[in-house]
Symmetry: C2
Subunit: 499 residues, 2 copies
């Protein structure tokens, strides 16, 4: 085919692939936000049909032929087209390496396992779930071998969620987390705790909604391209850089919960909203990885949103929206309250400082489960021992312990670390950003635009053109270094607790 | 192919067709209700891609082969499968009869014409729109010849919106409307008018929302299968019988506007919600035609919803929701106010009695435009003369006259009559229903379930299995007869105005 025509066809093909993703995304968003609940079955069927069509597009002979022709003239290709071809080829090869019948059997297994987990958790019945988990792990080991036979099995799984993430990188990372943070958390346990009671007063929902609008404004989020929906478990979804949807959940007696949801999801949204225009319609549009995405949400949620300059800046407006609720509360008290550190059982409710210890426990256990040195039978005991050792708390039941997360029932081994690594990327980016911007001065005057511009240039605009490690290098001028994260946390929490 | 396998493939194929419609419906609903407005362009592109795929499915060789094989053994087929095959074949043939290049040119023309109409209307500039309208009419005449060469051109167009609807049926219908209603409307113009001022008081939006929920409850609408969205111009959409979405628009100073939107759209919803279970996933699921659909919305909106027994039944609850707003208003006064008859310029704001005269004007003009006895140049003059003659009002500008509706700019000639015929179907159904049910006694005690059951049996459950005229015969035991409609209106409005 004539090169220009080939490239045009390839771009049009990607647009079609994106259109299916767009449609499925809207259906899923509708499902989560406004669908009458009786529509679930029909929605599931339609999603099934679209996802089959979408799958066919992603492995079709037509696509393979285009990729082969493009990569045959690799050196003549522009960078973006070459990356698109490579990315799509990698997806095809990954799919092809797993024998279809094993893949189908695994899908069935995880469907069944999710179903079992959904009642095992409330019933506190690990025993019923354990055989499924054991079988899932066997599949995961085999799949790891199929996909990246040259890597240790757990590295192959990690790479599936965050390209280039390995045990060689995570072992020292979590060692550093453990060695720096565990003693700090113990020390904080003995310090005086801030008062949080004013956060538990009733905050009217319509005022909270107005507050969300204000937070979006402070974050420079263009509402004509980003809406706020209301759901049980907040998430962000994007269909293209011009249509991003964040969601939140309002509780009358936990205003800070929605506040930090909005800032967190707003961070995800900023990333998507500032993808480069050249990537519209490309398979490389959107965030580079889970870890990089999480670095952005947590940068805004924790580093900016839980900083004292930020609280001081937004406080006058908060007093305007919540005059009676915030009676006699100072910005400093509010700042202390939203940074209270308490080791707890549930990962999703963990504070900024203890969060990574929850992940570390999961990382260590996954490594042993996949490596074969821990059996699923002994897992709850190992879980409980680590919570005791690192967080200093006793796990009263598997419901609040090993059964709390859905990830393993869905076969997602290797996913958890990206949550924690995101926070660590963010801290390193802050340090690098501070060399060029007076970050805290900007935050204290509510000028987030230069910060967003800095991140756009180094991270957002590149979409998936660059890989996670390349983006970190690009933003920080150096490879990933976990020290920034523990230094940042240590300094911040020593100051908060005056220790 | 083995008959069972063939039938199964045919059903699976229809499910796939429905899945595309489902997805496009959700995207459109999202577009109208919650999409951030910056998402419009991307949504349009995705809808374009899906609609192309959906089009390919509807004319594919695979589908043709299945239909041919099924219809070759017509007599051995069950009724539903035979109807499905016939319906899909008719669609294919209709598409094939129009030369592709003419169809594409017409699409371009109507896109352009809609664009021009969108500014011609506010600018009151018929002249800029007129050449487009003239060209659209030429296409419509040609298309009519391609599709049904055996019919007069306007009949072929009417049939495209309501199968079996002809000038031979509509001429006596509108003659009857004209002869019975025009003198009545003139007489009412001289009678004492009811007070409507209390409807223009402010009714808080959250109270109006609660009132909508109550109306849905009275209409026995299962909210787990039907939601209420908020939009500029209310509509109903359905993805399958388990997921129907009505919409409304709240105005503080026009509570009756949203009230009757909800009842009207609720009528559309009831029809869809009670489609037979056998039709799930079939191309015959959903309402039989525009006219039959409109008969249901208007049955609930006007016949039930604007009746005195209904107002009396709901009034205690209305007083509970709007205690201050309805101070010193009686059910009878409310009933009179929502039935006030005033000849007016704008079709969409017309009352129950004058509505069909607006349609009659359009019908007569379309007939002449397609028949060739009226040129687009002379259209505004003809329009204004008919409004003067039948509604007794002077049209001050084309903006409020011939330019008011979008239909013609979209090439939809033959669509308007189905709005009016729907009301006439509804009146005939009422008369038939009254032979078996004590309708007004049921309405006065809020028991709509037997009425819904009656309509389900005769209309709703059949989906598109039966054609419009067959459904009327089925419900009324007789063919369509316009006398019921004018009798119903005459009796109702003579009583209201004591004339």
């Amino acid at each position: 085919m004539e090169p220009t025509a080939l490239k045009e066809n390839f771009k049009a093909y990607q647009k079609k692939m994106r259109a299916y993703n767009h449609a499925m995304g809207v259906l899923q968003y509708d499902f989560e936000t406004v669908m009458p609940k009786g529509g679930a079955e029909g929605m599931g069927e339609t999603l099934g049909i679209l996802s089959e069509e979408s799958y066919k597009l992603s492995v079709s002979d037509e696509l393979r032929a285009m990729i082969a022709e493009l990569l045959a003239q690799k050196d003549a290709l522009d960078f973006q087209t070459r990356r698109e071809a490579e990315e799509l080829l990698e997806d095809i090869e990954k799919i092809e390496k797993i024998p279809m019948e094993e893949y189908v059997a695994f899908e069935k297994l995880t469907n069944k396992a999710s179903f079992v987990w959904h009642s095992a958790k409330p019933d506190n019945d690990y025993k019923s779930f354990e055989p499924f988990l054991a079988e899932i792990i066997e599949y995961q080991k085999r799949f790891a071998k199929y996909i990246k036979p040259e890597l240790p099995a757990y590295d192959a799984l990690l790479d599936g969620f965050e390209r280039g993430m390995t045990q060689a990188m995570l072992d020292p990372y979590f060692k550093n987390v453990r060695e720096s943070l565990v003693p700090l958390i113990h020390e904080i346990g003995r310090a005086k705790q801030p008062d949080m009671s004013f956060l538990e007063r009733p905050y009217a929902l319509n005022k909270q909604r107005a507050f969300s609008d204000y937070l979006m404004e402070v974050m420079c989020i263009d509402r004509s391209h980003c809406s706020i929906g209301e759901v049980e478990h907040p998430f962000t979804t994007e269909f293209n850089k011009h249509d991003v949807r964040i969601t939140t959940h309002y509780h009358e007696d936990m205003m800070h919960d929605s506040m930090y949801s909005v800032i967190h999801e707003g961070g995800h949204a900023l990333y998507e909203l500032h993808t480069g225009d050249d990537l519209i319609g490309s398979v490389l549009a959107g965030g580079a990885s889970m870890g990089i995405h999480e670095s952005q949400s947590r940068f805004y949620e924790n580093i900016i949103g839980r900083s004292e300059p930020f609280i001081e800046y937004i406080f006058p407006k908060m007093r305007e929206i919540f005059p009676s609720e915030l009676t006699a509360v100072t910005p400093h008290e509010f700042f202390l309250a939203v940074n209270k550190c308490t080791p707890s059982l549930i990962r999703t409710q963990a504070d900024e400082l203890t969060y990574s210890l929850h992940i570390m426990v999961r990382y260590e256990l996954e490594k042993r489960l996949i490596g074969g040195s821990l059996s699923t039978k002994d897992l709850p005991e190992a879980w409980n021992a680590m919570y005791k050792e690192y967080l200093g708390i006793t796990v009263p039941s598997d419901r609040e312990g090993v059964l709390q997360d859905s990830h393993w029932s869905g076969g997602m081994f290797g996913y958890f670390p990206s949550y924690s690594v995101g926070s660590a990327y963010a801290a390193q980016m802050l340090s690098s950003m501070q060399k060029e911007l007076d970050v805290w001065n900007l935050v204290s005057t509510g000028e987030l635009a230069p910060i967003i511009a800095w991140l756009t240039e180094r991270i957002y605009k590149h979409g998936m053109l660059l890989k996670p490690n390349e983006l970190v290098q690009n933003a920080c001028g150096a490879p990933f270094d976990p020290k920034y994260y523990t230094d940042y946390l240590t300094k911040k929490f020593r100051a908060i607790y005056s220790i």
